[in-house]
């Protein structure tokens, strides 16, 4: 036994058999899963041939129907703005209620569960449910993205509030201030800059998501995109995709600037 131990110690880079076995297991799983999902080389080969034809039909991008494009993009921006505003407004009380250092456990636990529920369903699924319940259009998109925003920023708000120093809060309480004053002068100054950061981040991500909810009929450029796909208007699809990417890129640049200015 000591002989093998010595040998292993002498070898500078001993082979890691556990890792190798893990790699083999992963490769076997990949083969099994590919068989299960019916992914074969023949299919991939025809697929890549199709991809060439597909790309050829996308070029050049067709901006002839730019009015439709601008209309869709503007609606997406509107959905993003409204859902961010509503989501932030609703998240402020929710975040406070979910913070375990300021609210009693009776209130914090159900709020945390509700926020987790908002977060765990994908926003497109929520959008379908809203489309079925309240009809096609921007309203369903706003509602779905509001739910998604609540799930994310209420959680971040709660975490930020839980990290504050309780000394200021106690000092304000000691002066006999009411709940409103404690929140305004004891809690808010400590979390305001992080809250602004979260809000900016959420606006950015809502803008990305609002270009998509239209695929299930919840308004915005996604509906135009899906319609163009269904009619095999691939040059218009390319135009829409390019403008979505440009919009998101622009938003990223702007929010990066704002973030740099705030520092």
């Amino acid at each position: 036994m000591s002989a093998t131990a010595n040998q292993a110690a002498r070898q500078a880079f001993a082979p890691n058999w556990a890792a190798r076995a893990g790699l083999v297991a992963l490769a076997l799983y990949a083969v099994y899963a590919m068989a299960q999902l019916d992914i074969t080389w023949a299919r991939l080969a025809t697929g890549f041939g199709e991809a060439g034809r597909f790309l050829a039909r996308m070029w050049p991008p067709n901006f002839a129907r730019w009015e439709l494009l601008v209309e869709g993009l503007l609606e997406s921006i509107q959905i993003a703005l409204l859902s961010s505003a509503l989501g932030i407004l609703l998240s402020l009380p929710l975040g406070l209620m979910a913070a375990r250092n300021l609210s009693p456990a009776v209130l914090a636990m159900p709020t945390r569960a509700f926020v987790a529920l908002c977060r765990s369903l994908h926003y497109v699924i929520v959008a379908i449910l809203f489309v079925k319940a309240i009809g096609f259009g921007a309203l369903a998109g706003v509602a779905a993205l509001t739910i998604a925003s609540m799930g994310f920023i209420a959680k971040l708000f709660a975490e930020a509030i839980e990290e504050i120093s309780m000394k200021q809060v106690e000092a304000i309480r000691a002066t006999g201030a009411g709940l409103g004053a404690v929140l305004l002068y004891g809690v808010l100054p400590q979390v305001a800059s992080r809250f602004t950061g979260f809000c900016l981040y959420q606006l950015d991500s809502n803008l990305r998501n609002s270009t998509l909810v239209g695929i299930v009929g919840a308004g915005g450029i996604g509906g135009t995109l899906f319609a163009a796909f269904k009619r095999f208007d691939y040059d218009f699809v390319a135009a829409i995709l390019l403008s979505i990417i440009a919009l998101i890129f622009l938003a990223e640049v702007v929010s990066g600037r704002i973030r740099a200015a705030m520092r």
Binding site: A33, R43, S120, L121, V124, I128, I134, G137
Partner: protein, 273 residues
């Protein structure tokens, strides 16, 4: 004697302002811009008042129709779709790593010294990230036809940008010391990577893999809505046939898988890192 004290108290009595006038105008302009944007959005967004009016009733009606969930429907059709979703997520993550590792090596400025290749790799990573997974799914449905293959590739291509960016950042943060030592010993490139770089990026690597797998489980649940396989197909069918009890079953199944995936990932991460 009294004159300086009066002057001193006058200086003290001067009102203190937290912000300079320029800052106040700046803040005021930011608030104005936010309010103006919201007013513009509210006034021009196309919301049909009748829809808004009876929205609460309609939501309540939908929830009533969903109750009780048709749990008998779970086996076998929902179960099979759920397993397919997990396969799509896992295989997609695996494929994305195969594509992302070379791109990350090219994008990391300390591994690849050529700025043109760095820029090209960064461009590919950014374009992968800026197209949403559902849009990738639409593209791959057009390429491969409907089915799980399209979903797997959509997940893989969407994840490449995310994984590649984080891996490249981890690579750039490595300590050059071990690499230099290996280089001085005359080790070939493969050994440099395997014994000099890999041990340093390993924790970040597993962290990224777990994080992305968790996201992919969520994302692959919706790919079926555009025909790219998984549980989304079952959900779409149930919604199109207005079988709301079945919709509730599918939603509960998705919820359960998402929560289980999150718990599994947190457990493994706590053990690994």
């Amino acid at each position: 004697m009294s004159a300086p004290s009066i002057a001193g108290s006058a200086a003290l009595a001067r009102e203190w302002h937290r912000h300079t006038p320029a800052e106040r105008i700046g803040r005021w302009l930011v608030w104005l811009a936010i309010v103006a944007a919201l007013v513009w959005a509210v006034r021009t967004v196309e919301i049909i008042p009748e829809f808004l009016h009876d929205a609460p009733e309609q939501m309540a009606d939908l929830l009533v129709r969903m109750w009780p969930p048709d749990l008998a429907h779970y086996y076998p059709s929902v179960h099979a779709a759920l397993v397919e979703t997990l396969h799509i997520a896992t295989l997609g993550t695996l494929f994305s790593f195969i594509l992302a590792i070379p791109l990350a090596l090219l994008a990391a400025r300390n591994v690849c010294r050529n700025p043109v290749l760095n820029g090209l790799a960064q461009l590919l990573l950014v374009s992968s990230r800026s197209v949403n997974s559902l849009v990738w799914a639409l593209i791959f449905v057009a390429v491969f036809g409907p089915g799980a293959a399209a979903g797997t590739f959509a997940i893989a291509f969407r994840s490449v940008g995310f994984v590649g960016k984080l891996l490249a950042e981890a690579l750039e943060e490595t300590n050059p010391g071990p690499l230099e030592a290996l280089k001085a010993a005359g080790a070939p490139w493969g050994s440099l990577m395997l014994k000099g770089v890999w041990p340093q990026v390993q924790p970040a690597f597993w962290g990224i893999a777990l994080f992305r797998w968790d996201i992919n489980v969520r994302e692959s649940a919706v790919l079926g809505l555009v025909g790219a396989g998984g549980i989304g197909v079952v959900l779409d069918d149930a919604i199109n046939f207005f079988q709301w009890e079945r919709v509730a079953t599918v939603l509960l199944a998705i919820l359960a898988v998402v929560i289980v995936a999150e718990i599994v990932v947190t457990r493994i991460r706590a053990r690994l890192i």
